[in-house]
């Protein structure tokens, strides 16, 4: 049997431990992508112990209804010919609700094996489940397993192979006899082409008036009329609609099964309930949440994480280091040594050290911080606390059309926008997810903090991170809120607020393995970015700033001229000058400031390095007052810019489209070129408008008035109008006063 290929689908409710099981049996080395046509994640991998078995992890769902893309994807896959058997994973500590999906999966006529997960917890609670009876009632083998403790897995797959050999099963469980009569009649109306094992499924779906399933069976007019007549008669008899009747019947079957198969130990208050009583307490909930978040940042950004990051930046990519008495050279030192020994030219050494090592190093420096941050956030997510955060914060987020679930991506984005955008996956509703993707990168990521430090140094001569960083997180949140309210009133996001009905899973200690995988998923997304996009982009930036035309000749500028300001002749300078008209109303028309913004689009980590090298102060950091001064003087004041222009520059760079890597992630997450363009267009448009207003209103306060003052006032009025006007009715919204021109164009 081992030689033949076997396709296994994993189905189950959210929080039933399906992902833990998937990671356990596959080692999580698989393909991750989207199901065709939708932004629902598809995970597929080979079984570690037997490569002939392919496991497809279906999205966590509660039902096979036709309303959510996750449910449709899952049922289409189960009904297709690809899977040989479905492993239906159940949280055995919550049989009642978990059996609801199991019944529906059994009804599809596919061979099913039921895995009762969390067997260890059932035992601990003192509950008893009669698996033999349960198996008989469901017409499918039942195996007790624990994905956390790795028990029962071999038996599960032995049963799965046996079941798969049967190819098809006819479901066993029966509803009330009156309903069964109607279902029998509907089955008789089905065309002969519907195979025996799937007839029950389609009969039930037709009874529910499930539009998607109706399309698939192709009834003729006569048959369709007959079915409709049967269903309406039954609805009249039961005084209820058909969907409610079937749901009621399913839960009645479940009640009967539970009665027979489950002996529950006397109820006592679980640890989870005790924790929850405190954590989401009406009065303590918010303070505890603030405390937890503060602790996360204190550890990740403030102390341990930063110590690691500083070590990497100062030693590994700085002056070298000593370990156990042996001294090691820094990475740039190492490369320079090798390259010089190999007789490389200045050009090559410059490319490697100033281009690649400096750029990639800037990114890698953030890894310790990122690592610590994600260890903490992933734990909070996996143990169940983040669901409580969504519960506590929902009221706030609903006001601007999002749900509490949007908060998690924003938290992750404070580390890096790439995993932040990735974690929007947990938001089921498409509109909510799109809006969260569009706005989450307004939250300053780790790489924006040095830019903030530089700007604040230049503006107020102080960059004490303890109050400035929180201030900018706060501004990021304001940008998210303002955008949320404005966008919600546009055609793109119009409509009723999306429902927020969410299970609050019991608290549990995540398995170390799952936790580690979760952290790795996020950190590796960041590392991948460092070695792909940033690697390539630093070479481009290096080329743009080191090559140019000097006295009529094009070439490597350090070879052409001895001048320190060789960059003035570079391609980057030309590009900056060519684009500077866009930023003139924002007050920063110098090519250097524009070049910094361009390098920021590539990677925010580049902005500081570009500033330092443009000012010929390559060794200076954002904490250096000389750099603050040079930055303000040479890039702004010398070009007619003011303090307002510096602030506008900051606002633009913090709010505009994120780095290439995050843009790529947005593209992957939106799964649509149009929506990617809308997202990036909105971000850049919004950033430009905010920058314009800051600069123009500052100038106005100094008594300077121009045509741009009027434009800025007009934008401010438009934003206020959009913020405070009532929600437009229905599909109206032709005259939506959108701030970003690119949004209305799209």
């Amino acid at each position: 049997m081992a030689a033949s290929q076997l396709h296994v689908a994993l189905a189950g409710n959210p929080n039933c431990g399906k992902t833990t099981l998937f990671n356990l049996i596959t080692g999580a080395n698989g393909y991750v992508g989207n199901w065709p046509g939708v932004t629902v994640e598809k995970k597929e991998a080979k079984l570690t112990s037997d490569k002939s078995v392919t496991i497809t992890d279906l999205p966590g769902i509660y039902s096979l209804s036709p309303y959510s893309p996750e449910e449709v994807v899952a049922r289409d896959y189960i009904m297709s010919d690809e899977p040989d058997v479905v492993i239906q994973v159940l949280d055995a500590t919550n049989l009642e609700r978990n059996l609801y999906l199991a019944l529906q999966v059994v009804e599809t006529g596919k061979p099913v094996v039921v895995a009762l997960n969390m067997a260890d917890l059932v035992e601990k609670n003192g509950d008893k489940i009669d698996t033999k009876r349960l198996s008989k009632a469901l017409g499918a083998p039942v195996v007790m397993i624990s994905a956390l403790k790795n028990t029962g897995i071999d038996e599960l797959f032995a049963k799965a192979r046996e079941a798969a050999a049967k190819k098809a099963e006819v479901p066993e469980h029966k509803f009330d006899s009156a309903i069964e009569d109607v279902l029998d009649h509907i089955e008789n109306c089905l065309p002969q082409s519907v195979p025996v094992n799937k007839r029950r499924y389609y009969a039930v779906k037709l009874f529910e008036r499930d539009a998607q399933a109706v399309k698939l069976v192709n009834l003729n007019k006569e048959q369709a009329d007959r079915v409709e007549q049967l269903v309406s008669q039954c609805e009249k008899d039961c005084d209820d609609d058909s969907e409610s009747i079937i749901t009621g019947e399913r839960y009645a079957v479940i009640a009967h099964i539970i009665d027979e198969c489950l002996k529950k130990a006397p109820e006592k208050m679980s640890i989870s309930e005790k924790i929850d009583r405190v954590v989401t307490n009406r009065w303590l909930g918010l303070p505890i949440f603030v405390l937890v978040m503060w602790a996360v940042y204190y550890i990740a950004i403030g102390t341990i994480g930063t110590a690691g990051t500083d070590w990497v930046n100062d030693n590994l990519f700085g002056d070298g280091f000593t370990l156990f008495g042996a001294s090691f050279p820094s990475v740039p030192g190492l490369f320079e040594g090798w390259l010089t020994a190999a007789g490389a030219s200045d050009l090559v050494i410059s490319l490697v050290n100033d281009g690649i090592v400096a750029g990639v190093g800037a990114v890698l420096g953030f890894i310790p911080q990122m690592f610590v941050l994600f260890i903490l956030l992933s734990f909070l997510e996996d143990c169940g606390y983040m669901a409580r955060v969504a519960f506590v914060m929902d009221r706030v987020f609903r006001r601007f059309g999002l749900s509490g679930k949007s908060f998690i991506p924003m938290l992750v984005s404070t580390g890096c926008g790439v995993p932040g955008v990735l974690s929007t996956k947990t938001i089921e509703n498409e509109k909510d997810r799109r809006m969260t993707v569009m706005t989450t990168t307004f939250i300053p990521c780790g790489a924006k903090l040095p830019i903030i430090a530089l700007l604040m140094g230049a503006l107020i001569g102080n960059n004490d991170a303890s109050w400035i960083s929180p201030l900018f997180y706060f501004l990021g949140v304001v940008a998210v809120i303002v955008s949320g309210i404005m966008l919600k009133k546009t055609k793109l996001f119009a409509g009723r607020p999306t429902p927020f009905v969410m299970e609050l899973p019991a608290y549990h200690m995540p398995s170390i393995r799952s936790w580690a995988l979760h952290v790795w998923e996020r950190v590796s997304a960041y590392i991948k970015k460092a070695f792909t996009i940033i690697f390539a982009s630093t070479i481009v930036i290096w080329f743009l700033s080191n090559f140019g035309v000097f006295e009529g000749a094009f070439g490597f500028l350090p070879d052409l001229t001895d001048a320190d300001e060789f960059m003035d002749y570079s391609v980057l300078a030309m590009l900056g000058s060519a684009l500077s008209w866009i930023f003139a109303p924002l007050g920063f028309a110098s090519w250097q400031a524009v070049a910094m913004s361009i390098s920021g689009l590539v990677a925010k980590e580049n902005v500081m390095a570009t500033a330092a090298s443009l000012l010929s102060m390559s060794d200076a950091t954002e904490a250096d007052p000389e750099l603050w001064h040079a930055f303000a003087q040479q890039m702004f004041f010398n070009h007619g810019g003011t303090v307002g222009a510096i602030a506008a520059f900051g606002a633009f760079n913090l709010l505009c489209a994120p780095c290439f890597a995050a843009m790529g992630t947005i593209r992957a997450q939106m799964n649509s070129g149009k929506w990617t363009a809308i997202a990036l267009g909105y971000e850049c448009g919004f950033a430009w408008v905010i920058g314009l207003m800051i600069n123009q209103f500052y100038l106005l306060s100094q008594g300077v008035f121009s045509i741009w003052t009027i434009v800025a006032v007009a934008f401010a009025a438009a934003i206020l109008f959009q913020l405070f006007r009532p929600m437009p009715k229905g599909a109206m919204g032709e005259d939506d006063n959108e701030v970003a021109p690119s949004v209305s164009a799209a």
């Binding site: 509660y62 209804s65 609801y100 009406r282 929902d394 969410m502």
Partner: protein, 73 residues
């Protein structure tokens, strides 16, 4: 009509009917909120909304606005 959102924290009640139509109604039914189901309101979030209910042995968070389609005893 008394709805799920009207039940005080700590009190239990039984569902009489789900009003409305479409995805939200079906989702609530799939989660086990149907005619005759008993539930307990466990707590309300610090900002007054949503509420947490215990139904069929698990905890569910639901906004008062959505709870308004659930008629209870």
């Amino acid at each position: 009509m008394k709805t799920l959102g009207d039940v005080a924290v700590g009190d239990s009640s039984t569902i009489i009917k789900l009003h409305g139509e479409g995805a939200l109604r079906r989702h609530l039914m799939d989660l086990g909120l149907i005619k005759g189901t008993k539930f307990t309101v466990v707590k309300v979030a610090p900002l007054g909304d949503p509420v947490e209910i215990n139904v069929r042995g698990y905890e569910l968070s639901i906004r008062k606005e959505e709870a308004a389609i659930v008629e209870v005893q």
